[in-house]
Structure formats: C-alpha cells, structure tokens
C-alpha cells in the first residue's frame, strides 16, 4: 500500500489537523467529536447546512464548508458513515436559530445515523429537516431495496442549497428546493483501478489490465458490471446514455454538467471525458449552462470518472453563480 500517511488509524485525525492548519481562515475543526465547521458559525437567522459521510471523498465534505456552502461537515472513518454524536454536536455548533438541514447521501448507514442525530436534535427543540441525494442511475431502484446511492449530485446540492441558505431561504423552502434538485439530477461512475482503504491495506477489488468497472459508487465497491477497457469516448457514452435516458432529460432543456475525477485520475483525462460528454449532451439537444470539471467527490486514489447531469433553470443558475468561499470550491469572493 503506497500512501502518504503515517498510520491507518490516524488518517482522519491528521487530515483534519492539516485542514485546520491550512484553512483556519475559513473553518474551525472539532476533534472530539470530529467535525469541520464554518469559522463564523453559527450565523444568526440562517439555516445551518450540515452534511457528512465517510472520509476518503475529499474535498467532499470538509472542503465544502464555508460561506455559500456548508456550515458543517462530519467526517467518518474512511468510507464509513460518521456517527450521530458527531452530527448532533456539529448541528448544535452551527445552529443559528433557523433550524438545521442535513444533506444526506442515501446509504443505509448515513441515513440511519443522521436520523438518530435528528431525533437527538429534536429532543433539544431544534428544527431539523433532511434532503437525500440518490442520483446514481447504476443502481436499480425499487421499493424493496435500499434505493440508489448518493454520488456526484451531492456536490451540486451542497453548492446550490448553500447559496440559497446564504440568501436567507428558510428550512422548509430549502428542503423543497433540495427535493427538487434531488428529483432532477442523475449520475453514473466508472473505475479504471480499485482503491485501497488504509486499514484494509489491499485493494478493494482486483481488476485485470484490460478490465474496468462500470456503475461504481464512491466507496471502492465493485460496480454493476465489469467490462473490457474502452476508449474515453466509449466510456463517456456508457455513462451519459443511462443518465440521459433515466430522468429522462429532454431536448431543449438546460443542464449543469459535472465531470468528476475519482481521485487518481488527472485533469487532462477529465477534459477528454468532458469533451465527449458535452458533445453527447449537445447532440441530445441539451444546453449546458454551467459546468464543473475536477475531482470533487473522490474514492481515495481510485482512477476513474463519474458524470452528473442536473436540470438547470434561472434560479439554479443564479444560485450556482452566487459567491462561495470554501477550500474546495471558490468564486465570487
């Protein structure tokens, strides 16, 4: 296992120490329990946006804490959902009196832990709502299953709701906006290589030199199918097709297009994927009004990419353009 770490046990703590040292102007880090909060939180009268999830997806979520995005993020162990006490303390720490919105990726663990935290917060008379992301079209949805995973849409969700909260939207409005974003965003990902969870010390799965996994999530889990290596254009097609046909996105619609790297894929390759994704979107009659290209929701050092498409309207565009000042995403300020 080749990693720039000191020991598997200390990865998250030391990462947080690094974040505190590097971004002390934007955030403050709590070490017991672990959470990253906006330095200027709580902000009176503003709904507190709190997210969280396993570590290993950096910059998500800690890198998205700051003006115009999250008020707090709770990092779990690598690929392990954080615990209710973290979410509870983080939420209390950023509670400005207008309630707390939890942004939760739809994994059994994350959902149950956030639910427990919400119960604890309600006992303290704090208003809590939650918004799920479950945008991964690689997973077949059904009433009888855990549903779809939350992946790339989470990044867009946090940016857009963050801007809306900053503008003073109340909890119910934010929840409604979040639900509408949830309903109109879709993603799919693939991996060229697996990743190695530090405490496991070995890759999460094996992939032959000529194989890739399609329909992968962000936890080093195997995807839906293993197929032969293909060209960037073919891969992009394999991801875009299910995304576009799932909602479905219709000709004439405006979209935000997000091409994400899995952690070990360099930017040069992401632009080659973006190129094709944009061509496919245009051919489909879609108008790309905003985009994001980079490694924002990662799976440790996995090589691969995911694509997220979100239906856009003027309101979302103005929220997208609103100032954001976080370690991972910054503009307008």
């Amino acid at each position: 296992m080749k990693k720039l770490i000191n020991s598997p046990e200390n990865v998250v703590r030391e990462e947080l120490e690094g974040i505190q040292l590097a971004h002390g102007d934007i955030v403050r880090v709590s070490f017991d329990p672990f959470y990253v909060a906006r330095k200027d939180a709580p902000i009176k009268g503003k709904v507190g946006l709190v997210s969280g999830g396993g570590s290993g997806h950096e910059p998500m979520h800690g890198g998205f804490v700051g003006l115009g995005m999250l008020d707090a993020a709770c990092p779990g162990h690598v690929f392990t959902s954080p615990t209710p006490d973290q979410m509870f303390e983080a939420s209390k720490a950023v509670n400005g009196g207008a309630g707390i919105l939890h942004i939760v990726k739809n994994y059994t663990g994350d959902v149950m832990n956030f639910d427990l935290a919400a119960d604890m917060l309600r006992e303290e008379k704090i208003d809590v709502a939650s918004v799920l992301t479950d945008d991964d079209v690689a997973v077949q949805d059904s009433l009888y299953t855990a549903g779809r995973r939350g992946v790339g849409l989470t990044v867009l969700m946090e940016k857009l709701l963050g801007a809306a909260a900053e503008k003073g939207m109340d909890l119910a409005q934010l929840k409604a906006l979040g639900d509408s974003i949830r309903a109109t965003g879709r993603s799919m990902g693939m991996a060229l290589t697996p990743c190695t969870v530090p405490h496991a010390g070995k890759p999460s799965f094996e992939l032959g030199e000529n194989e890739m996994e399609v329909g992968i999530g962000i936890h080093g889990e195997p995807g839906r199918k293993r197929v032969s290596l293909a060209s960037a254009d073919e891969i992009t097609q394999m991801l875009m097709e299910p995304i576009l046909s799932d909602l479905p996105f219709k000709s004439g619609e405006s979209i935000i297009l997000f091409v994400n790297g899995m952690g070990g894929t360099p930017l040069i390759e992401l632009y080659i994927v973006y190129r094709r994704a944009a061509q496919i979107a245009e051919k489909h009659g879609l108008k790309i009004v905003r985009n994001l290209v980079g490694s924002y929701i990662t799976s440790l050092e996995m090589a691969g990419t995911s694509i997220t498409v979100l239906r856009a309207n003027d309101n979302l565009i103005s929220l997208w353009d609103a100032p954001v000042k976080t370690a991972g995403l910054r503009w307008g300020i």
């Binding site: 162990h77 392990t80 994994y107 663990g109 149950m112 639910d115 997973v139 299953t145 855990a146 889990e221």
Partner: protein, 209 residues
C-alpha cells in the same frame, strides 16, 4: 445453567469483542466483496471502545451494561452496523433495566425485542441478506430449545452460523450489497456473519457458567 447473570453478560461482551477483533480481517474481506470493506474494522473499533468503557465504568446491572454497550456502539461504529447493533443493545438495555439475571425465556424475549428494533430501523425482511437472516432463525431455535441457557444459546449459535452461510446464494435487497444487484449472489453477508460471532460468544460464556 438456568439463568444468565450480569457476570455472563459482561463476559459475553468481552468474548464478542475478542472474536470480532480476531475476525476483523475476515469480516472486512466479506464486506469488500459486496460492500465497502469496513465491516470488520467498524465492529472491532466499536467493541474495543465498549471494552474500554466497561473497564473504567463497570455497570451495576444488565440493563446498564447493555445500554452502555449500545451507546458506545452508536458513537464509535458508524456505517449501517453502528445504528443497527447500537440500537439492538439499547433495546436489550431497555428490556433489562435493573436486572441482575435473566432466565432463558427472558433472554429469548429481549433478543426478539432487539431484532424488532433492527427490523424497524433497517426495514429489512428475512431473505434480504442482512443481520436479520442470522438473528431471526437463531432466536427461533432458542425459543424451541428449552430452559437451559447453555443448551439454548449453543443451539442458537449453531443456527446462526449456518444461517450466515445460507446468505451466500441470496440476492441482497438492503444495505450496500443491494447496489450490486445480481452480483451480490454467491457471497456471504458480513453482517450476518458478525451476528453469528455474537451468538457464538453468547453460547461460549453461557457454557462456562
């Protein structure tokens, strides 16, 4: 053995902690095949925190013990297993407030309450390839195994172990493994396996009484 005493409850947790530590890599490997590879680490971390807590703060009755176990698991395990096992032990604690010992029937009934909590929280049914698939038949076996705690828990442990193996051909419908669809078939469920380890530990400490 006719009753299960505070001392055994304490030993159960210590024995389970040791078993989970020992089988951590196995559980991680099972989870890597159809999940995200952390189940063993999660459980080992949680139970080692439980052991530490018990040492510094020895509970005075079975209810206090289980409550403490549940609280600690909730704040240290994370993932799906944290709320499920945490809630399970919290429920066991609720059912045993102030108790110094339990007879076999009570043991069955508190485990049933714990299972109900897991099902309420996780919404999994029998056959979904989860903890429920090991715990449900184990409790059924215990129910029909009479009033000797040692014998009943031993029978339950065997059933749980077999039941964990029987999750192999199942298609997962809950938890991370469900994302794999058909590809979840052919692998043993890590949560059912950790449940089997818990039941085996229960049988071991009951036999020693």
């Amino acid at each position: 053995m006719d009753t299960f005493k505070l001392e055994q409850a304490r030993s159960w947790i210590l024995t389970a902690a040791a078993a989970l530590e020992k089988n951590s890599a196995l559980l991680c490997d099972l989870d890597a095949a159809i999940g995200d590879g952390d189940h063993g680490a999660n459980m080992a971390r949680g139970f080692s925190a439980v052991v530490k807590k018990m040492e510094t703060n020895p509970p005075a009755d079975i209810g206090a013990l289980f409550k403490s176990v549940g609280m600690t698991l909730l704040s240290t395990v994370g993932g799906a297993a944290g709320p499920l096992y945490g809630g399970f032990f919290l429920e066991l604690g609720k059912q045993t407030v102030g108790k110094q010992e339990l007879d076999a029937a009570m043991l069955v009934s508190i485990l049933e309450a714990g299972l109900a909590d897991i099902k309420r929280r996780g919404k999994a049914e029998l056959g979904d390839k989860t903890i429920v698939d090991a715990l449900t038949p184990a409790i059924e076996t215990m129910k029909g195994a009479g009033s000797d705690v040692a014998a009943a828990t031993r029978a339950a442990a065997e059933t749980a172990r077999d039941a964990a193996v029987k999750t192999i051909p199942l298609l997962a419908r809950k938890g991370r493994a469900s994302y794999l669809g058909e590809r979840s078939i052919g692998h043993q469920d890590p949560g059912a396996t950790s449940t089997a380890l818990l039941m085996e530990s229960l049988a071991e400490v009951s036999a020693k009484a």
